[in-house]
Symmetry: C2
């Protein structure tokens, strides 16, 4: 079984490494060895044994009928989209780790794969090595999934864990994460929540079977989280985590990416460092959670290669995926209901009561000249009005 | 698509309920509705709408060519084995929640299903609603699984959690668990670890692709765990959990069921109450964990129905499962290496040092007239010799 890799960066070279390390057992599972025939990259790798497989034109892969499986690990929507589309049109199976591509073009590429009787798989696009796409598609099929909530960005989870454990401010932790290679030079996509947003768009699309546009999802990052917030969280016995969540409500699906305060009994409370986890609530299954390495070269490559194995074992058929191009209209985020932790520089309990009714007050050691409190459950839109009426709001974090 | 249920107890009636509750979305996934044509049970259910489907002879199901899928939820090896074998021989797909049957006859029934081009599935036999069989079989296929360790018995996990939280003794907690329906009237299979033993035998068979006989697995239950042990655990900041574990070592596979002391950083540390979780370490994936409801009517039925959906979607083909009847010889448990927490009524540090070398001493509040300590890593066989030399050993619990 001949395969090609498009993009020989971290994940792409990891895929080659996994096929090398576990080639024997993989061949046993598939029934024949998986051999990499081409590697597409702009660069050359003189001296590297893979150099002889390097091609610079993707058409060399598309036009070779021997290649049955193509791995896309380039990242970004273009030119990945053009290349993947060409491969599917040429009757080749494609797996990708590229969440930007899947979030933007998933429905279309799934439909094209079906038309061509091949597969378009993307297990590695969410949760790195954690199996979540295939479990949603083939394990949780007896359920109506009512909630899916994940810690699905390792960079921000590492940073929040550090801030919590060491009492550091955001900027100091970001600098350290960049030095250690846990955050990119331009960390915007991670710290602003854009990465998590694309991933929850993918998961929600799979759950509801329709297209969820990531641009429609209310998204907040972690850039405004401070050491003082962590002190309040400790007082409350809670942890601050960047959650990507979607829920099926009577009014429709809600989706959001934002920092939340989690109580110890929440299944995601103890997910620390670079680990990821995805919590799922099904109407008959109840609660389930999938936990593991959400990023990293080999864990992510492991998920890509699991797709390769699945496609090789099903090389003559399309495995159906429910994700139509019909757009799902999300419930307006103003209508989502939450409880909120608020810090205000107006330490006037009468005024707070006037605006919010009865609340729970929270004080944090060493934080002065302000007042923290937790509201009752209310709609996001209502909160906005009330905080405006109160004034002097320093921070708002949702309670999970 | 016509189906039959054999055994209308808790799980069997749960399967009917799940097919009722989520019938619409299941029909959409399968492409046609799943209809229950027969329910096999010794009893009659007069007045119940399912009464018209009740049959008392399994041959009525086997001989009806309309029935494509059979659900076995009777429990026990016989007559379940005879019935399931007959159904597979008649060319019907079978799913079971019956760990005793799968542990004893899994390899044979998998081979028979393959021969007849149907499927024998058993997602619900381990971890209740938690997807673990299918993930092992179709998601973690790029890896060599080096360890699989689970909390896979809800009854004992509930009891240990209660003992830890409320400082109660084993007997009191067992009585309460029985009153609440979390433990059976005859709780032997759960509290002696026999249930967990069958489940880890199934998981290990899937990981290594060979037959692991549950009788070969060293198995200890939780009956000897006391309130004093819980006090020591608290001092160490650890939790006592009944783990079922198997590891691939240089000498071969080891497997064991026993109580362990888990540190807070262990992924299974915070799995409490009736929840189950299964930790997996793959050579490229790294650490992963699957968490959820390990028992209960609807969660377990959810897993059974997910098998039904998968079989209905693949009704014309056999999905290969690697589990041959070739017996795997486990490494002698005397050769397994662990660290051990020991309580001795010989509070003589010189003697302890003489037998065990340098150890870490542990004292627990309110426990007197004895001494606790933690050994270095050593083989189980070596420990047995050393504890005999020391004498007066009150308790031994392994460190995870």
């Amino acid at each position: 079984m001949k395969a090609a890799i498009m993009g020989y960066g971290t994940i792409g070279s990891g895929v080659a490494e996994v096929l090398e390390i576990n080639g024997g057992s993989i061949a046993k599972r598939v029934g024949e060895p998986i051999e990499i025939k081409y590697i597409l990259d702009l660069r050359d790798f003189p001296g590297d044994p893979i150099q002889e497989k390097i091609v610079h034109d993707y058409k060399a892969i598309a036009e070779d009928p021997e290649v049955r499986i193509v791995v896309e690990t380039m990242g970004g929507v273009e030119p990945a989209y053009t290349f993947v589309k060409t491969m599917l049109e040429a009757g080749k199976h494609v797996t990708t780790s590229n969440k930007a591509l899947v979030a933007a073009k998933g429905a279309e590429l799934i439909a094209l794969a079906k038309e061509k009787n091949v597969n378009f798989m993307f297990e590695a696009s969410v949760g790195g090595g954690i199996p979540i796409i295939r479990p949603l598609n083939s394990c949780l099929t007896a359920d109506e999934i009512e909630e899916i909530t994940g810690i699905i960005n390792g960079t921000t989870n590492y940073m929040l864990t550090k801030m919590s454990e060491e009492g550091l401010e955001f900027d100091a932790v970001l600098k350290e994460a960049q030095e250690k290679g846990y955050a990119e030079k331009d960390p915007t996509a991670d710290i602003e929540g854009y990465d998590a947003c694309r991933k929850i768009a993918i998961l929600t699309s799979l759950v509801c079977g329709q297209q969820v546009d990531f641009e429609d999802i209310h998204t907040e990052g972690i850039t405004k989280i401070t050491a003082a917030d962590m002190k309040y969280a400790k007082t409350m016995g809670r942890a601050i985590k960047l959650l990507a969540t979607s829920k099926k409500t009577e009014e429709g699906y809600t989706a959001m990416v934002a920092p939340f305060l989690l109580p110890p009994e929440h299944p995601l409370y103890s997910v620390n460092g670079v680990f990821n986890a995805i919590f799922v609530h099904g109407n008959v299954l109840g609660d389930a959670m999938f936990y593991g390495s959400g990023a990293g070269k080999l864990p992510t490559a492991s998920a890509v290669v699991a797709d390769v194995v699945e496609m090789a074992k099903n090389s003559d058929k399309n495995i159906p995926v429910e994700w139509s191009s019909k757009k799902l209209k999300l419930v307006d985020s103003d209508n989502a209901v939450n409880r909120f932790f608020i810090r205000t520089e107006v330490p006037d309990r009468d005024k707070i009561r006037e605006c919010f009714g009865e609340v729970e007050y929270v004080e944090a050691e060493g934080v002065t000249g302000e007042l923290g409190f937790v509201t009752n459950a209310m709609r996001e839109g209502e909160l906005a009005q009330k905080t405006e009426a109160l004034g002097g709001v320093l921070q708002m974090i949702r309670m999970a």
